[in-house]
């Protein structure tokens, strides 16, 4: 589906561009937010990336992986923004903020036991920021290990470890639930 939209964009179809935007904007916006921590710059940065994409649409076929491309563009634009405005630049994944990402277990599952809900929520909140961010990129944004590694500039092994450690931590805390 994304491929079809990309083809439309390449052909100059603005409606296709709009659809692609609507599919992709929000997760990039959240990603930008992890760097810049404020709404307006995050929005502007992502919009600029999309507009640049539109301007360079004739060369779209040269992009191997559109996800990695967009995320990296956003990341670089964020880093530029932080430097221009003399704000602290995150050096490692650990320094990216994930406070705005609230992970929850599907409430449908936990509709009843308030105690269960509470334990799960607390367990998730105790995950370190980088865990939460990686969880989010993989589980919700649908990125693969390889893509996350390329975007965050870390090794695939690190991504794997992070996710595994996160799951282990959660499992440990969840084992308090006697079901």
């Amino acid at each position: 589906m994304i491929d079809v939209l990309l083809q439309k964009i390449r052909a100059g179809d603005q409606q296709g561009f709009k659809e692609f935007y609507h599919c992709t904007f929000f997760k990039l916006y959240q990603f930008a937010f992890s760097y810049v921590h404020t709404k307006e710059p995050a929005e502007e940065i992502v919009n600029d990336v999309f507009l640049a994409l539109w301007q360079k649409r004739a060369e779209l076929h040269r992009i191997d992986n559109i996800n990695v491309y967009l995320y990296v563009c956003v990341k670089n634009a964020c880093l530029n923004y932080l430097r221009r405005n003399a704000l602290p630049v995150p050096v490692s994944v650990d320094e990216l903020s994930a406070d705005h990402l609230q992970l929850v277990a599907d409430p449908e599952l936990l509709v009843l036991q308030k105690e269960t809900q509470r334990i799960v929520r607390e367990a998730i909140e105790q995950l370190p920021a980088r865990c939460r961010l990686i969880f989010k990129l993989i589980k919700e944004d649908g990125l693969t290990y390889k893509e996350v590694a390329a975007i965050l500039d870390i090794s695939v092994k690190t991504v794997d470890n992070q996710l595994w450690l996160g799951l282990k931590k959660l499992a440990l805390l969840l084992q308090e639930i006697h079901v």
Partner: protein, 364 residues
Amino acid sequence: MNLDRILELLAKQMGGEASEAEQAELAELLKEHPNHGEIVFILQSIEAKKLKQPAHNEELVVRDAWDKVEKRLDEQSAGESTAVSSGLIRNLSGRKALRWAAVWIGLIGLSTMGYFELTKNRPIETLASVPVQEAVAAGKPRRVTLPDGSLVWINAGSKMRYSEDQTTNNVYLEGEAFFNVRHNAGRAFVVHAGGIAVKALGTEFNVQAYPGEGRVEATLLSGKVQVTMEAKPDQQIILAPDEKFTLNDKPQPAKDAAASSGMSYEVKPVKEMPALQEMGEVAWMQDRLAFEDEPFEEIAKKMERRYDVHLVFENEALKKETLSGVFKNEDIGKALRLLQMITPFQYKIKGDSILLWTQHVTAN
């Protein structure tokens, strides 16, 4: 430590790196160790909630952001020079930032005025067809776009009518709806419901006024609204974000009592329900029914609307049971069975009603 191995494989699976052999191994291990099933199930169900911000709805953020992109695309094709290179980030304290201040944040004053002037002559983008009069039968919530570009989500069992007069865009509501008001310079936007009028001042808010409930509520999420009551027109109540106005038709002890009419109102802050990370008041927009420490009879009223059924209590005691929970994507049968797991009761379907009763009666 087979849970470790299970988790290792689960991580790989989530990341799209699990080979076929590994996926098979994971399935096998889960079968062999059903005691770990529950935890794995919970882990698999973890999802990232949306940005915890005034915009409780991702769509609105995207819509407003797109408006800006579209504007710049228009400018580009009109030949104006708009510098867009991936390295260029405008200094946000400039004039341009003021023009593009997002409406839904509810910024009042100079910034929003600048934005509105620019949108005056733009055709208003509609995400749905543009009806003037709307009604929603019991069932699912529905979203419509009003002629002025505002968005309205109408809950089950509600109806709404829109009309414009010289100065104001009016909405007449019976039931419950959530509004994202698009400002029009020089025009007011007023929702009339259950004897109150809620005037929007650039904003997102929820209004609940089901006939026969004896209660009208208005909850503000972002921006500013002014509430007036038909019974006391000289009194104007301004709500701040995360505040809820409740008007009770039944006599109740309250801070400000309209003594003559037996009506009373109060304004209090609302907070998010921990399970949802958003206010229970707007959970219906995600097609969820959320309740926290509410008496069963109140929940039953909501369920009646949601499932289009009639619930009848045989015990007073059962009515008063307080329950908490969230329903999503389920039918009435499953909902009742879920509730049975937290408080013991029986139910039986009789015609188009469902009878509810509890076996043991506790002596009070």
